[in-house]
């Protein structure tokens, strides 16, 4: 017994050391990203401005982008391969959106900027591995899933958020390297808050939390939160970038700093699309999370739904995201208004995890803050 307890304490200690180490590496990644943006600002490409204000013909076809001609190999019936020319697909952006190319990314095409960007990414991967180790040892030390209190929730949430980012990068389907700096910054803030204000020594759960539904409910909630986070950052940057593009078209003055930062981001339409895809993709999972929570509440407390503050705010978050999805299909609400709704929805999500635990008491306030 005592031996086991000592191992657990050692593991908990290891976990703390790992979390602090991860913070240190994230800090380095943060600086590397800063260098990436600084070196990137040397680039004088200013493509967006050129695309929007430069005097070309107003021909509608001007906005077409092409995916390039790709040569592909196809197996033929008799076992050999033939080389086919993949035809060039000409795409046009949807009606209503401007035809603006995406920015070149944080490094702005600068060689040194690019190098710092790669260093930042490498450091982020390292920090992610260390933090994941921290979460894992924490889980081992308490012999349960690592989300029994807000400290554990925070370290797990931030690690999963970085995992989602790295996963999206690895899938290569979306261009989201611009997310690096905002992500690392928020992760540092979250971890900083976790180790100072929210820290709770490792221990087991009260019986109400012993349930596999807890495992399902909280793990999906954390994952949804991480993905909603990516969606929210994309939405926020969309709002900035959209204002920037509008101002460019109107010929208004924009500060050099804003220009330098914003022209390197993807186009507003790209960010908007990305935000939608990310939010829409997890919305069914978020729906499932709430239902799983109701099932768990049903078996733990005898009531599926009692309008407990946590349940209420999950519901509010859900309705707010439904509003966002609806707004995108409602004339007069697309674009900036819908984006604001997405931000409100994410704010509701955050409030549910921090605000409700701290300011409101309810059945969920086991969390020992």
């Amino acid at each position: 017994m005592i031996l086991a307890a000592a191992t657990n304490e050692n593991l908990a200690h290891t976990s703390n050391v790992l979390i602090y180490s991860a913070m240190a590496v994230y800090m380095l990644a943060f600086f590397a990203h800063i260098f990436e943006w600084i070196f990137g600002s040397r680039s004088k490409v200013a493509r967006t401005a050129a695309a929007l204000t430069g005097g070309g013909s107003p021909d509608a076809e001007a906005g077409t982008k092409d995916t390039g001609t790709v040569t592909i190999k196809v197996a033929t019936k008799n076992g050999g391969t033939t080389v086919l020319e993949r035809p060039k697909i000409v795409t046009r952006s949807a009606s209503g959106s401007r035809d603006v190319p995406d920015g070149p990314g944080a490094d702005g095409g600068d060689v040194q900027g690019d190098m710092w960007g790669r260093i930042a990414l490498a450091l982020t991967i390292l920090a992610f591995i260390i933090a994941a180790g921290g979460v894992l040892t924490r889980a081992l030390s308490v012999q349960r899933a690592p989300w029994g209190n807000m400290y554990e929730f925070s370290i797990t949430f931030s690690t999963v958020a970085v995992g989602v980012y790295l996963g999206l990068l690895a899938s290569r389907k979306l261009n989201i390297r611009w997310l690096g700096l905002p992500l690392v910054t928020t992760v540092l803030l979250t971890l900083g808050l976790a180790v100072t204000v929210l820290y709770t020594a490792s221990d087991q759960l009260v019986p109400a939390l012993h349930s596999y539904w807890l495992w399902i409910h909280v793990s999906t909630a954390i994952f949804c939160g991480a993905v909603f986070y990516v969606g929210a950052v994309a939405t926020l940057l969309y709002l900035f970038r959209d204002r920037y593009e509008t101002k460019l078209i109107a010929g208004e003055k924009i500060s050099a700093f804003a220009t330098s930062v914003l022209e390197r981001l993807p186009a507003a339409a790209t960010l908007d699309k990305l935000a939608y895809r990310v939010n829409a993709a997890v919305f069914p999972l978020w729906t499932f999370t709430i239902i799983a929570g109701a099932i768990w509440a049903g078996s733990a407390w005898g009531h599926y739904w009692e309008w407990d503050p946590k349940e209420t705010w999950s519901f509010i978050t859900w309705v707010a995201y439904a509003c966002y999805l609806h707004a995108r299909a409602t004339a007069g609400w697309k674009g900036r208004k819908a984006a604001s709704l997405a931000l409100v929805a994410f704010a509701c999500f955050l409030f549910n995890y921090y605000g409700v635990n701290i300011f409101v008491t309810g059945k969920h306030s086991y969390a020992g803050v």
Binding site: P58, R277, A294, W307, V319, W333
Partner: protein, 621 residues
């Protein structure tokens, strides 16, 4: 690591920069005017003067882009009718079932849910509500009037969700018909100029147009598109499941609401405290409940006739560490039978593991101690012997209760009287001073008793709390100093009442525990679960499946070579469309191999892509 990601944007931007020029008329207001789904407003009113690119597009795409979803058409909110009452009713219905009002109601619903999470709710804790009202003399009554203490059953909250669901039904029915119509119909024919579509490709081939169309029908059909030939083009559509999923989701929401509504109308819910080893236990009739609530359509004749009793309660607690005293395990070992004819079964109820029996769920809600005492009267006769449940008031289970001796007691002179003992119980006594427990397990149990006699008021008809004595009516026994007679007892110890009025003994042996159970019966649970599963599946279909159309047009050009054009249309968010079109093209190429370009000039790539289109259009006419 992800080199391509960094450079993807650059590569594209660095391409034919001259081509990516401005779109002059495309002012900042353009997004606002954009149609809901492409082409939704196609061919509608024409603003005088120059068309924006979008308007031009919408007109070009026309019917080909219509009904890519079944979303209701947007109508201007302010277009009030000039008609009579029927006109107004129609106008009102149209507004209520419009996307805009649905959105507004959804927004209202989320806003309306907020106060209930910040203001104490009587459904959760009536005591908190009462304290709030006494503490806030102005806000309290105001909140009460606004029904803010029961937000989720308030008139205004109900009004919002009922309107929302009326709107939802009003939306689903026409959409379903429309969708059935779309399923019966065929994909619309190709628009005039395929180049206007979001994804487009073209090549020249020596295969005859007829054969190209045949091949396209086969290729698209194999990919499970619905296909047919319209004029000189093959029209194909896929992804109807998106619409089906969306409709299923919205219908599932209604099913869930109805399930909850019927559940709360027919539900019954009650609490029962049972002592360890109490042979009578509980049988499921109305009179057995300590407290009971039910929906307005509940019929007590429908209570299932099961019964159960508590054999043993086990509670374990953290013995060390920072969270010492925190509960680790609660378990109630029970015996139950499903009805009079059924034999007894053993069972276990734990937190998270209710007993499901005859459509009801039995939950373990709380637990506490029931110290056993023996009371003798003035003549030395045992007039009370048994355990009395005490209510815990802190997390270490310091508890309070009342031991009432109602019948049989006679004082020294043989006169009938009633006895009442105000009891405090601590499972782990912390030494001198306060009766506050140090630990929730019965490590060092102590019972503190204050003694009273007189009329317990049991027969007065006024409902009274079994855990409290009405000390205003009762007379205390006094000790030598004139104070209320009060004493802390260890198991086995006895407190003598003054003047030979009898005695009370805290019985030796392990202290009994009690557990309280909640018995709920809520019909419609399965419907709600089914609705929830359908909602998730429907949502997944609605959000993951893309509905898209593909057209393959083949016409003979003036030089006798076939010009093949392919274009795709989907919702603006669909990113996969160009990719899919590329894949389709690749599968089509073996059947319609590209013919050598007559003017082998690859400088003007972009214009090459456009030129055949105009060409084709000419040929079509």
């Amino acid at each position: 690591m992800s080199d391509t990601d960094t450079h993807a944007g650059r590569g594209r931007a660095g391409g034919p920069d001259g081509d990516a020029g401005p779109t002059g008329n495309d002012g900042p207001a353009a997004p606002e005017e954009a149609p809901a789904a492409q082409g939704e407003t196609g061919g509608e009113e024409e603003a005088g003067g120059a068309l924006t690119r979008d308007e031009a597009d919408a007109r070009e795409i026309g019917a080909a882009g219509s009904q890519l979803s079944t979303a209701p058409r947007e109508e201007p909110l302010m277009a009030g009718p000039r008609l009579g009452p029927i006109g107004w009713a129609r106008w009102f219905w149209r507004q209520l079932t419009s996307m805009r009002i649905a959105l507004l109601l959804l927004l209202l619903l989320s806003l309306a849910a907020i106060p209930g999470s910040l203001i104490p709710q009587s459904s959760a804790d009536q005591n908190k509500v009462d304290t709030f009202i006494t503490e806030h003399t102005t806000l309290g009554p105001l909140y009460d009037k606004l029904q803010l203490f029961h937000v989720y059953s308030s008139v205004w909250f109900s009004a919002i969700y009922i309107l929302l669901f009326i709107s939802l039904i009003g939306c689903i029915i026409p959409r379903t018909w429309q969708f059935v119509g779309q399923l019966r119909g065929r994909p619309p024919g190709a628009p005039g100029r395929l180049t206007r579509l979001p994804a487009y490709t073209t090549w020249r081939t020596d295969t005859e147009p007829e054969a190209v169309r045949e091949a396209a029908l086969a290729v698209l059909g194999r990919r499970r598109f619905r296909v047919h030939v319209v004029g000189d083009a093959v029209a194909a559509e896929k992804g109807y499941l998106r619409e089906a999923g969306n409709l299923m989701f919205h219908v599932a929401l209604i099913v869930m609401l109805l399930a909850f509504a019927s559940g709360s109308l027919f539900k019954s819910e009650g609490g029962k405290l049972i002592m360890e080893g109490d042979q009578d236990g509980f049988s499921n009739t109305l009179s057995q409940y300590d407290d009971f609530t039910s929906g307005s359509l509940f019929d007590s004749g429908n209570l299932a006739p099961f019964s159960f009793s508590l054999d043993n309660f086990i509670g374990t607690y953290e013995r060390s560490g920072p969270e010492v005293g925190t509960a680790r395990k609660f378990q109630a070992d029970i015996h139950y039978s499903a009805g009079p004819g059924d034999k007894e079964h053993k069972g276990v109820i734990k937190e998270n593991h209710p007993l499901k029996i005859e459509g009801s769920n039995v939950y373990l809600i709380s637990h506490g101690y029931a110290p056993s005492v023996t009371v003798k009267d003035g003549r030395g006769k045992v007039v009370f012997h048994g355990a009395t449940p005490m209510l815990p008031f802190d997390k270490n289970l310091s508890s309070s209760g009342a031991i009432k001796v109602m019948d049989g007691y006679r004082d020294k002179s043989g006169k009938k009287d009633q006895l009442g003992f105000a009891a405090l119980f601590v499972p782990t006594f912390g030494g001198k001073g306060q009766m506050l427990s140090q630990f929730p397990a019965p490590d060092f149990p102590v019972l503190n008793i204050g003694a009273y006699h007189g009329d317990l008021g049991v027969d007065s008809g006024v409902p009274q709390n079994v855990y409290q004595l009405n000390t205003k009516v009762l007379k205390p026994f006094k000790d030598a100093k004139g104070q209320i007679l009060k004493q802390s007892l260890l198991p086995g110890e006895t407190m003598k009442l003054p003047d030979g009025a009898g005695s009370i003994t805290f019985d030796k042996g392990p202290v009994k525990e009690w557990a309280s159970f909640q018995i709920t019966h809520q019909p419609g649970e399965l419907w709600a679960l089914g609705g929830a599963i359908a909602a998730i599946l429907g949502l997944a279909g609605s959000l993951f499946i893309q509905r898209r159309r593909v057209w393959v047009k083949a016409v003979t050009g003036p030089d006798g070579v076939t010009v093949l054009e392919m274009a795709g249309l989907g919702r603006s968010e669909s990113a996969k469309l160009p990719e899919e079109l590329g894949d389709l093209a690749v599968t089509l190429i073996p059947e319609a191999p590209p013919a050598p370009d007559p003017d082998a000039d690859d400088a003007g790539e972009a214009s090459a892509a456009v030129a055949p289109a105009d060409h084709a259009e000419g040929a079509e006419k």
